[in-house]
């Protein structure tokens, strides 16, 4: 039962990744793209969790922690860049 459900979950997450990528390419302004990037990072965290269940390797959760941390720092950095760019 679990492998079947995992296939469905992979499909749903891939669809979500595709939709977020559409917004990443089409987004009219830079903040829209940053929001799409953050959502993509969140979806990838879910992907890594499902892959940890699929392969049975629990160490993959460390990868999920690192991806979440990197996404947060990237969002903060982009926001800093946006606000400083307007003052000049």
């Amino acid at each position: 039962m679990i492998p079947f459900v995992i296939n469905i979950v992979y499909f749903l997450l891939s669809l979500a990744l595709l939709l977020a990528f559409i917004r990443l390419t089409r987004g009219p302004s830079l903040p829209d793209r940053v929001v799409a990037l953050e959502l993509i990072a969140s979806i990838v965290v879910g992907f890594v969790g499902v892959h940890a269940i699929d392969t049975g390797i629990s160490s993959l959760l460390d990868v999920a922690i690192v991806i979440a941390l990197t996404a947060f720092l990237a969002a903060i950095g982009f926001a800093r860049f946006l606000e400083r760019g307007t003052q000049e």
Partner: protein, 99 residues
Amino acid sequence: MRDIIVSILLLAGAGFMLLAAVGIVRLPDLPTRMHASTKAGAMGAMFTMAGVAFFFADGVVLARAFAIVVFILITSPIAAHVIGRAGYFIGTPLSGAAR
């Protein structure tokens, strides 16, 4: 029994993430898109991590999954606030009644 719980949690997590992605494509302006992606995305990641913790049923994995959930709950509102603030100050266009 464990398989049923894990399946339900994983499907709920994937469903919330798909909802967040649909919202980010369909909603009209920056704050509403952020509203969809931040909350539903964090909820999806939390459900997925709960499924992982139930699947492995191990103390170390439970601690790691709990750490990921707490980290997402702390950082996701901060990132949304900072991006929304930046978007407001550079004057991204709003839609509808918020204009």
